[in-house]
C-alpha cells in the first residue's frame, strides 16, 4: 500500500492511497479543516468527488475507520450464540494457566466444566477437532462450545490465577 502525499500551495495537502485494482482514494485536506474525498478509477483518471466533511466530522469518521470505537478482531470476549443458551467462544491460554502444557485428556476439560474444545488456533493455523492427546500450550486460542455458566468455569482454567484472583 502506497500513500502519495503532495502539497497544494494555498489550499492544503493531498493524499492519494492505492486501494487495489489500480483505484485510488484521494483525500484533500484543506487548510480550513474541510476534507474532500475523491475516487480515481486509475492513476491518470479524473477524480470523482464522493463527499466532503467538516473537520470534526472527518475526525470522528476517521476514528471509526481506525477501529477506535469498534475493533473487529478476535479479542478476549468474542462470543457467538449458536442457539438459545449455547455459545461459541474464543479463549487465550494465559501464561501460568492451570491447563497450560496439559493434554485435553489430562485436563479433563469436559468433565470439570462441561465445555467442549472444538478447535485450537496456534500461531496462525487451526487444529480442528483436537484429540484427547492434543497438548494445550501457552498462547493458544481455544475455540470452545458451552453454556454461559460452563464457560465461566472454563475461564478459570485458562487464565492466570495470579492475574485474576477469584
Amino acid at each position: 500500500m502506497t500513500v502519495y502525499e503532495s502539497d497544494l500551495p494555498g489550499v492544503g495537502k493531498k493524499f492519494e492511497i492505492e486501494i487495489g485494482d489500480g483505484e485510488r482514494l484521494v483525500i484533500v485536506t484543506h487548510n480550513t479543516g474541510k476534507r474532500e474525498v475523491f475516487l480515481k478509477a486509475s492513476e491518470g483518471a479524473d477524480s470523482e468527488k464522493l463527499f466532503e466533511l467538516p473537520d470534526r466530522l472527518a475526525r470522528t469518521i476517521g476514528t471509526i475507520l481506525e477501529g477506535a470505537y469498534f475493533q473487529p478482531v478476535q479479542s478476549e470476549q468474542v462470543e457467538t450464540m449458536l442457539a438459545e443458551g449455547t455459545f461459541l467462544e474464543w479463549y487465550n491460554v494465559d501464561d501460568g494457566a492451570e491447563i497450560a502444557g496439559q493434554t485435553l485428556a489430562d485436563a479433563r476439560v469436559r468433565e470439570r466444566t462441561g465445555v467442549s474444545v472444538a478447535a485450537i488456533e496456534r500461531s496462525g493455523s487451526v487444529v480442528p477437532s483436537p484429540r484427547a492427546d492434543t497438548v494445550m500450550e501457552v498462547g493458544d486460542t481455544l475455540v470452545v462450545i458451552g453454556s454461559q455458566e460452563d464457560l465461566h468455569e472454563f475461564d478459570v482454567l485458562v487464565s492466570n490465577d495470579a492475574a485474576s484472583p477469584e
Binding site: 503532495s6 502539497d7 497544494l8 500551495p9 494555498g10 489550499v11 493531498k14 484521494v26 484533500v28 484543506h30 487548510n31 480550513t32 474532500e36 475523491f38 480515481k40 491518470g44 479524473d46 477524480s47 470523482e48 468527488k49
Partner: protein
C-alpha cells in the same frame, strides 16, 4: 466624525458587493469582474452622470483598497513556502520558467508594439504575465480538479509567479517612482533593494519574535498584532517609496514560518476578503467606462495574443510534470485567468502618471488593464468550466501531431 451620509455610502458599497457576489456565485463566475462592474456602475461615471447620487472614491475607500492590496500580498507571502518550492524546484522551476519566458516575453513584445517604449512595455508584460491565484485556486476547488494531477503544475506555477511578481513589483515601482532619469531610477532601486534586504533580514531573523508576538490566547490579540505589524510595515515601506505590496508579501513570509500560520490564515481570511472587495470596487469607481472605447483594440489584441500564450506555456508545463495530453491541455486552460495582480500593477502604473509616464499613457495602461482583467477573468473561468468539450475537440488533434514525436506515459 464623518459626514452623516458617509456611513450610509459605505453601507451601500458593502451591501452592493454582497448582493453582486451572490449573483456571481449563482452564475458560477468569479466575483472579481462583478465587483469591478459594481464599482463602475455605482461610481461617478455611470450613476453619477445620470443622477445626482453616486459613490465616490472617498479617502476611506482608497485606504480600504490599499489595505486590500496589502492583505492580498500578505496572504501570498503567508502561503508562500520556500521549502516547498525548493523541494519541487526542478519541476516548478522548469514549468515556471517556461511560463515566464512565453508570457512575460510575449507581453514585452506586445507592449512594445502598442506603446513603443520600454517602461509601458514592462508594465504590459507584468499585467499579461501574472495569472490569478485567487480565481484559479477557487475554480480548482469548485470544479473538483484539485484532486487531479493537473492541480500540481498549476499551483506550482502560481507559486513561481508569486515569487517573480514580488521581485517585479520592486523593480517596477522603483522605475515608476524614480523620476525620469537613470540616476534617480538607480537611486530609487537602491532604496528599494535596501528595504527589501531589511525585510529579508526580518524574515530570516524575526521568526522567533513573530512567534512570541503571536503567542496569545485570544483571537482578538492575534488578529490585532498581525494586522498591526503588517500594516505598519507596509505603510513604512510606502512612505520610503517602496511598494507596500512587496513589504506585505515579506511580512507574510515571515509569519509563514511560525507555528501560527494556519491560525492566521483562518482568522485573517475574512479581513482579506472584505478589503479585497473594497479594492475591486475602488478600481471600478475610478474607471470611466468611456475610456474602454479608446482601448478596445488594445484589449482585443491582448486577449487574442495572451490566451494562446498561456495555453501553450500551461500545456508545456503539464508535459514537464509528465502529464498526458489531455491533462496538460487542462493546465493550459486553467492558467489563462488573469485577475487581482494585474490590477495591482495597473494601480502602480497610475502612480507614475505625469512623471515617468505621460498622463495619457498611464491612463491608457490603467484602462487597458481593467478591461483586460474584466475579459480574462470571465474567459478563463469559462475555459475551465467548459474544458470537457474543448478537450474533446483539441486532444485528438494534438495526439495526432505529437504521436510521432512524443512518448505517451
Amino acid at each position: 466624525m464623518a459626514s452623516e451620509v458617509a456611513l450610509f455610502e459605505v453601507g451601500v458599497l458593502f451591501a452592493a458587493v454582497a448582493l453582486v457576489g451572490g449573483i456571481a456565485s449563482r452564475l458560477r463566475q468569479s466575483v472579481i469582474p462583478f465587483y469591478i462592474a459594481t464599482g463602475i456602475l455605482l461610481g461617478p461615471y455611470v450613476v453619477g452622470r445620470l443622477t445626482p447620487y453616486a459613490l465616490e472614491a472617498t479617502e476611506f475607500v482608497e485606504l480600504g483598497a490599499e489595505l486590500g492590496i496589502v492583505f492580498l500580498l500578505f496572504f501570498l507571502g503567508l502561503e508562500f513556502n520556500l521549502n516547498r518550492l525548493l523541494a519541487n524546484r526542478s519541476r516548478i522551476g522548469k514549468a515556471g520558467t517556461v511560463d515566464l519566458v512565453v508570457n512575460f516575453g510575449g507581453g514585452l513584445v506586445l507592449g512594445f508594439v502598442l506603446f513603443r517604449a520600454f517602461l509601458p512595455a514592462f508594465l504590459v508584460a507584468g499585467i499579461v504575465y501574472i495569472s490569478s491565484s485567487a480565481i484559479i485556486t477557487k475554480s480548482l476547488i469548485d470544479l473538483g480538479w484539485i484532486a487531479n494531477d493537473e492541480a500540481e503544475p498549476m499551483l506550482g506555477t502560481l507559486v513561481y509567479e508569486d515569487l517573480v511578481i514580488a521581485v517585479y513589483l520592486v523593480v517596477a515601482s522603483a522605475l515608476l517612482l524614480g523620476g525620469g532619469d537613470i540616476g534617480a531610477a538607480a537611486q530609487s532601486i537602491g532604496v528599494a533593494l535596501g528595504v527589501i534586504l531589511v525585510l529579508l533580514a526580518v524574515v530570516w531573523f524575526g521568526t522567533p519574535f513573530f512567534q512570541r508576538v503571536l503567542d496569545a490566547d485570544s483571537h482578538e490579540f492575534i488578529v490585532l498584532r498581525a494586522v498591526g505589524i503588517t500594516v505598519l510595515a507596509a505603510g513604512a515601506a510606502l512612505a520610503l517609496g517602496v511598494s507596500e505590496a512587496v513589504a506585505a508579501f515579506f511580512i507574510g513570509m515571515a509569519f509563514s514560518s511560525t507555528e501560527h500560520v494556519e491560525q492566521l490564515e483562518r482568522l485573517l481570511e475574512p479581513i482579506r476578503d472584505l478589503f479585497a472587495a473594497v479594492f475591486f470596487v475602488w478600481i471600478g469607481l475610478v474607471t470611466d467606462p468611456l475610456v474602454f472605447a479608446g482601448v478596445l483594440t488594445l484589449i482585443l489584441v491582448a486577449v487574442v495574443v495572451t490566451v494562446p500564450t498561456k495555453l501553450v506555456s500551461g500545456y508545456l508545463g503539464g508535459r514537464m510534470y509528465d502529464l498526458d495530453i489531455r491533462q496538460s491541455t487542462r493546465v493550459g486552460l486553467g492558467m489563462t485567468t488573469r485577475g487581482e495582480f494585474s490590477l495591482i500593477i495597473a494601480t502602480l502604473a497610475l502612480s507614475g502618471s505625469g512623471t515617468t509616464l505621460t498622463e495619457t499613457v498611464a491612463q491608457t495602461i490603467y484602462a487597458f488593464a481593467v478591461g483586460y482583467v474584466l475579459v480574462m477573468s470571465i474567459v478563463g473561468t469559462m475555459l475551465m468550466q467548459y474544458s470537457t468539450p474543448i478537450e474533446e475537440a483539441i486532444v485528438p488533434r494534438l495526439s495526432k501531431v505529437f504521436s510521432d514525436s512524443s512518448v505517451e506515459n
